[in-house]
Structure formats: C-alpha cells, structure tokens
C-alpha cells in the first residue's frame, strides 16, 4: 500500500494443473507487479496453495506459461526459484523440526553462504567469519520479528503462532524479491494477526519485497492488499482492486452460495 507498484514481475498465462483425474487449476492467468501486495483468496480447495506451488516450481503445470521478469521460464525446480529470489512459507508449517529457531532461520541464508564443507570442517578462519556475519543478519530479522527469547528453542516445542513467525523469519532471511505466504495468519488470535499484518506491511515497506499472500480473513485482505485474485474450483473468478472484487457478484456467490 505504501509503495508504488512497479512493472510486472510474475506473469502467469493459462496455467492448468492436474493430479491424475483431479483438476487443481484450470486456465488461470494473472500477473503480479513488483513491490505490490497481491492476495489470492477463495473457498477451501480452490487451488490457492497449488497456485503458489506452481510459482515456486514445486508443481509443474501441464499447460500454460510462466514469465518471470519478462523471460519465459522453462520447467523450474524449487531451488531455481530460490536462486531467483523467491521465498515462501507453507500452509502446514514446513520448519525443520529437529533444529532450533536460530538454525532454522540460518538455513534461509544458505544461498548466500560461500564456504565449502572442508572450510566448515576446519571452522577457524573463513567459515567462522562467514557464520558470524550471517548470524548478524539473522539476528536483525529475529529482532524485527520479536522472537529473541526463543532463538535456542527447538521449533517442535513452540506454539503454532510462534512457529509461523519463525517460518516467516526463515523466508525473510533469504532477502527475497518475492515472498509467497500461504495463510500466514491461520490459527492466530486478533492480536497475533495484527502483529503479523504489521510485519508483512513493514517488510513490503522497508525492503520493497513483492508479496503474494493467501489468506482467508477478509478484513486483513481488504486492508493490506494492493490487488486481489479470487479462485474457485481451480478457476479465476475475480481479479482487481480489493473494492472491485468485494462487490463482484461472482465472488459473492462463490463465498456465500447463490440460489440454484
């Protein structure tokens, strides 16, 4: 909201995705502009997470094209997406349960670390310096998201809300250009949601990160989004500014059900 939206950074054209006989996405096209906050909304099972997975390279659409910064992307693997500066969080929390909060966030710095394993084995010298430098960056994020007190806690022990925050921290640690957030506020109370909103807005404001957000809470969506896409049964049924979408009869029917 605070930033001027820039050029189109991700352009999805006619994306169709199937799993065996199940059609997850059918002929979806929309774009995302740089620096904007784009929300994807829709009833459960509409294909929102699948959409994110397509952008991310986890799922590969059978039809359609993805243009990233104007370039047509061939079949992209998840680590390519990461290298291109796309980071994400997951609906069901994909933290590394065997590690502490600090270690989890440090994994987000993986692509920026240059030392090889031999240097790691030796530790003194380059590896120690690199570890310390990245620790500094990670601590900035920890401070930003206010999770200092739990940095050495194994993530498995944290309550749901804090785990979601740690996942966000891990995504931020990669200093991404595009942040894909899959229901970052699910299961949170009002206060936690406000905190999360503030964080998301701050990230967009401070770093100019483009944000694509899946969210169910309409209040949040209307408040913070620049533009909204609405999905239902794998098809796009709405696309535009929050107010336009809110008043679109198709959208209302999908959410509230119409008379048949």
């Amino acid at each position: 909201m605070a930033r001027q939206s820039g050029d189109v950074i991700v352009d999805l054209r006619n994306i169709s995705l199937r799993f065996g006989g199940v059609k997850a996405l059918t002929d979806i096209s929309f774009d995302v502009r740089e620096h904007e906050i784009r929300s994807i909304i829709g009833p459960n099972g509409a294909g929102k997470s699948s959409m994110l997975n397509v952008i991310n390279g986890v799922y590969h659409p059978q039809e359609g094209q993805i243009h990233f910064r104007g370039q047509l992307r061939r079949r992209m693997e998840p680590h390519h997406a990461a290298e291109q500066g796309i980071a994400r969080t997951f609906q069901n929390i994909a933290l590394f349960k065997g590690m502490t909060v600090l270690d989890n966030i440090m994994t987000g710095r993986a692509l920026k670390m240059r030392c090889n394993f031999l240097q790691h084995a030796f530790y003194w010298g380059a590896a120690q310096r690199e570890e310390t430098a990245h620790r500094l960056k990670v601590e900035e994020i920890i401070e930003f998201l206010e999770i200092q007190s739990i940095r050495k806690t194994p993530v498995g022990r944290l309550p749901y809300g804090l785990q979601k925050r740690v996942e966000l921290a891990r995504a931020l640690a990669a200093e991404p250009h595009i942040l894909l957030l899959d229901e970052p506020m699910a299961g949170m109370n009002v206060e936690e949601k406000q905190d999360m909103c503030r964080f998301i807005l701050d990230v967009n404001d401070h770093y100019g990160t483009t944000i694509v957000l899946i969210e169910h809470d309409m209040g949040v969506v209307m408040d913070i989004s620049d533009r909204v896409v609405v999905l239902d049964y794998g098809r796009k049924i709405g696309d535009g500014l929050p107010d336009e979408v809110k008043n679109d009869p198709d959208v209302i029917r999908a959410y509230l059900g119409g008379a048949h």
């Binding site: 349960k97 065997g98 270690d103 994994t107 692509l111 394993f117 084995a121 310390t132 990669a174």
Partner: protein
C-alpha cells in the same frame, strides 16, 4: 552449585558459537582429554588398551560416520561395515604397492577410496527413500564384500584371503606397542571427531538436517538435494573407511573381507541408536556401550550362574540383551544415552535445588 552459568556472558557471536559455551564444560573436556590422552597410556594395562579402549575409539569413528549419514542426513544405511572393509583393504594395498607410502597418507587415501565407493552406492538415494534405501545399502554390503573376496588382487593373492597388516611407522618411528597404537588411534579419532563436530554445526550440517527433516522445504530454500545427500555419503564413508583402516592396523592386525559382515553393520547401527542418533557424543557413548557389554556379560554370567547353563547361553543372552536394549531405548529414550547425559547436565545445573 558447581555447574552454573551465572556470570558467563557472551560478548560476541563467535563466543556463542563455541562447541562448549559453558566454562565448566570446557574444563571438564580438557580434563577428559588429559585423562584419555596422557593418563591412560601411562597407567592402563595392556588388556584394557588392546581390547577395550582402542576398539572403542575405532568404533566411535565408524559410528560418527554412520551418524552423519543416518542421524544428521536421514539416509538409513545398513552397509557401514562394507565401507570399513574398503578402507582397510585400500590402506593395505596402498602401503603394499607404493614404496615409502607414509601411513597417515595411506589412511587419508583409504578414507577417500571409501568415500568414492560411498558416493557410488549413494547415488540411488536421489530416487529412493526410507527402507527402500536401507535395502539398497544391503546391496552395497553384500556386493562389496563379495568383490573383495572374489578378486585375489585385493588380498595380494593370499591363499586364505586373510592378510596381515604391515607395521605402522611414521617418520621412522614404529608404532608397535599397545600404548603407541592407542595414542595414534586417539590422535586420529580426536582430530576427525573435531572436524565432524565442526561440520555438523555449520551450514553443511544444517543442510543435512534440513534434507532429513523435510526435503521439499529444503529444496524450496535452495538446497541442492543431490549435492547434500552425496556429500553425506562421501563424508560418512570416509569416516568408516578410516575406521576400517585403523581397525586393521591398530587393533586386529589382520584383515579379511568376511570380518566386515552384516552383523558388524548392525552393531554400528545399534551404537548410534543406543548412543543417540544425531549426536557426536552419542557415537562415543554408543560405541563404549556395545564394546563393553559383551565383556561385562562374559564376566557376569559365569559369576552369577556358574557353568550350569552351557557355553551357548552367554552368547544367546547377549543377542537377547542387545536386541532388548535397542527396543528399550527406542521406546524410552529415542535420543539415546546422549540425551540422558543432557538431562543429567540440566539437573546438575540446578543442583542442589530441585527446580
């Protein structure tokens, strides 16, 4: 009251990132190293050195290797003994066929040979997971031992297939006495254990654990699954290979392929389960446990039961106790002795207060 962190503040990330952040731990570890590095060779008797301490160190090294692969990287392997065999035979052949080969170099090359073979058999892990991978590692175990038996070149065409390890000498000094062999083993294991500890707490270790915990998420962050898994196989096999070479040169003195059988692979797996999966300390504790248990039983059973139960009884009892302990640890404390040690330390931090 002895074990308190009060007053120990870290003023840099480097300090926070130490292996032993608490001063009492550092002192304790220094004392441990003095005890095992200096006092033991001077004071221990030959039996203890040859039959207990040296093998415990060697198996700890193999257990560290398996722990890296199975505990940290999450790739179950039932073939660690085969990689030890590669190391043992590689060292033997390097020393045999290359004039003036320094022993330490032979050790390193043996490790590298094992690492190469490890990477080869690790390739399937890119497609296969879980117990399927375990069965694939069984293929490695049986195939490698077969190769070493079938091609007499490896054992220098010895008629029995058994070879005797050459004398170990570094810079002209011959390591013949049990004390010397022990110290050499101790030095090698200490250095490699330190390297392992450094590896697992670095970005490499985090990559392994990420792949273990959730490989899809790891990929999304940018980790390359292939490189990470193959590196784990390589490093793990390197450690097993060096352990195998030491096994031949400073412990048993002879090498034969059948000695590195499936049973030994299981033993090493048991060491990491009992000691604590995903823990370097656990490797040492597990190895000590597995080496000491049979000796303990051999001494206890006659004392308790006399000769009444026959020769087979003790060895069968051993099988039952081993298996039973595995099950016990998996139920009660899946993170093994290392976790028990951690819990003990946490209690100690509060002592003498209850909470």
């Amino acid at each position: 009251m002895l074990y308190r962190e009060a007053g120990q503040f870290k003023s840099s990330y480097a300090e926070d990132g130490r292996i032993f952040p608490i001063r009492q731990d550092r002192i304790g570890f220094a004392l441990l190293m003095l005890a095992f590095g200096v006092a033991v060779p001077l004071l221990a008797n030959e039996y203890w050195l040859k039959a207990i301490l040296t093998p415990v160190l060697i198996f700890s090294l193999a257990a560290i290797g398996l722990n890296i692969l199975t505990g940290y990287a999450g790739q179950l392997s039932l073939g660690s003994a085969a990689f030890m065999a590669v190391g043992a035979f590689a060292a033997y052949n390097f020393i045999l066929r290359v004039d003036g080969m320094p022993f330490l170099l032979a050790l390193a090359l043996a490790g590298l040979a094992a690492a190469l073979v490890g990477v080869l058999f690790g390739l399937p892990s890119l497609r296969i997971k879980g117990f399927y991978l375990a069965v694939a590692t069984l293929a490695a175990q049986f195939f490698i031992v077969w190769v070493l038996v079938k091609f007499p070149w490896f054992s220098n065409h010895s008629s029995s297939g058994v070879v005797t390890a050459q004398e170990v000498s570094i810079l002209g000094y011959a390591f013949v006495s049990p004390e010397a062999k022990y110290l050499l083993t101790f030095a090698v294991v200490a250095v490699l254990a330190l390297a392992a500890k450094n590896l697992v707490r670095s970005a490499t270790g985090r990559a392994w654990m990420a792949v273990r915990d959730m490989d899809v998420a790891a990929q999304v962050i940018g980790f390359r699954l292939m490189r990470t898994k193959l590196l784990a196989f390589a490093v793990s096999s390197f450690y097993c290979g060096v352990a195998g070479a030491l096994y031949a040169y400073t412990y048993i003195g002879t090498v034969e392929p059948e000695g590195f059988n499936l049973d030994l692979s299981f033993k090493i797996l048991f060491m990491i389960i009992i000691g604590g999966v995903g823990s370097i300390l656990g490797a040492f504790l597990g190895a000590a446990f597995i080496v000491l248990l049979p000796i303990l039983l051999d001494n206890l059973v006659p004392a308790l039961f006399g000769d009444a139960l026959g020769a087979g009884f003790a060895s069968n009892l051993q099988l039952i106790i081993f298996g039973g302990l595995i099950i016990f640890f998996l139920i009660v404390e899946p993170h093994g002795l290392a976790r028990l040690w951690q819990i003990a330390k946490e209690k100690l931090r509060l002592w003498p207060f209850p909470h």
